[in-house]
Symmetry: C2
Subunit: 315 residues, 2 copies
Amino acid sequence: MKPYAFGVDIGGTTVKIGFFTTEGKFLDHWEIPTRKEGNGEMILPDIARAISKKLYEKNLSLNDLEGVGVGVPGPVLADGVVNKCVNLGWGVLDVRGQLSSLLSGVPVEVGNDANVAALGEQWNGGGKGHPNVVMVTLGTGVGGGIILNGKILPGAHGAAGEIGHMKVRDDEPETCGCGKKGCLEQYGSATGVVRLAKRALAADLSADTPLRSLDPLTAKDVFDYAKRGDEMSLAIVEEVGKMLGEAIAHITCVIDPDVVVIGGGVSKAGQILLDAVHKYYTPAAFHASRQSDFKLAVLGNDAGMYGAVRMILNK
Amino acid sequence: MKPYAFGVDIGGTTVKIGFFTTEGKFLDHWEIPTRKEGNGEMILPDIARAISKKLYEKNLSLNDLEGVGVGVPGPVLADGVVNKCVNLGWGVLDVRGQLSSLLSGVPVEVGNDANVAALGEQWNGGGKGHPNVVMVTLGTGVGGGIILNGKILPGAHGAAGEIGHMKVRDDEPETCGCGKKGCLEQYGSATGVVRLAKRALAADLSADTPLRSLDPLTAKDVFDYAKRGDEMSLAIVEEVGKMLGEAIAHITCVIDPDVVVIGGGVSKAGQILLDAVHKYYTPAAFHASRQSDFKLAVLGNDAGMYGAVRMILNK
């Protein structure tokens, strides 16, 4: 194996680039802007240029590279072809082939960003030491990734781990970004928690709660006031816990992982969230999978770079 | 590869033994009784004896065997150890090691029976040609198996594919065999369909339906009368379709398979069942996974033998 590799995490605003040894040591990282103009046609050349520049700085060449792993915010098929990335402007794009060409044939691996972050957490984060991990990412949306035997499960249509779009409620009047109604993402994401809070405030105009005076009202506020005993906040945390806990029980009935890792901004609420999820997970889970451990993610925004490079180290 | 292999499907009443070429040709099969006395200690010796006898009949020896695959009705860990098989009388038992010893070291592979049947259907049945298959078995209970890249997903605690115990309802007063309330098995199994029918009959004593006069009332009756237009039967089929369709949508959000295969006695209802499941699956599924195909199982009771031998051919 050659001595170095890069892990690249392409986001809608910036591209994070991590420089690693192939023994897994994280040497350096930096960001470049994601240039989306022209259907995102500059993104891969920008990445190739940034990598070449870093190698030049370090007095290294492409020959010293084992490969480049890339996480992208869209569905990725098993052959490294991205099947539409709306927020980068990409249609169907052979990211593996094109980036490899731009880097004179260096091997490239490509994965969906949520799956790649899950791989990072499995390798070096909350799931460390466990081959089979389900990661649930509670951010602006709800994402997920399934790692089996230390490898990403991509799915037949690049959609494995799309757990934010499990339908968990029949009576939802609003429409999710995916076009359905009642998706887990509508409740378990930061946006979802705020939505539930606003709905609760509107439904009970006489309720005396500190949430009412907040503008903007955030998911963090709801968890913070729940920790201080505010009844409405506690009820919302309970509702979120029920939907997440029961959905995770569905997932473990299917996958039976070693560990469930919960990450994303909402997971910063910490123990109060884990307790609420566990309260509803345990009675809903199949008995054998009740042993599955729950952990908080630890790598934060670096998970994508770790997971991306892991695809190269783990081939 | 040696020329022959056996696929063995251990059930609570009989053991089915299939004799195959290692090219996958199904040559012969027969059954022996499952002797459960003495905590099932005769079962593996009986199987070893039956295999040796068949080889002798065919003028073959253990040296002509590539191996023996075995499906058992209980959870199986990755190392071939069975973790309690209540209806065989087994506690924790090293089936792989013990049967291999009884057969002078012939390789043995062991899997859970529902998973093994799923592998059989993936290899040579409803899922043929597709590497990633979810099988849903609607029998006395609801079982399942997940096949990824042509291999069984066993799960960290031997419980992957236990989809009959996904909690799909909050308001169930009766307890499932697993100890929970509201499991998919309580609605989607043959027993579950009958239970729903009896509940519907009791709830509406004035309803004029041919179901009322049947004794015993079976799941087949409910589907048969639904096909003839009986309103109560149609409503039950609809209810079963909703619970199965939405649960399968959860599964495909997690796994994103190529194809979903539906088997077991209830699946003999055929198109009316597939239509009811699809009606609720499609709006609940993530858009990318809506392309997943639905098929009926085709191997029936032979699926276990096919899948068992496949574990040997597919190592």
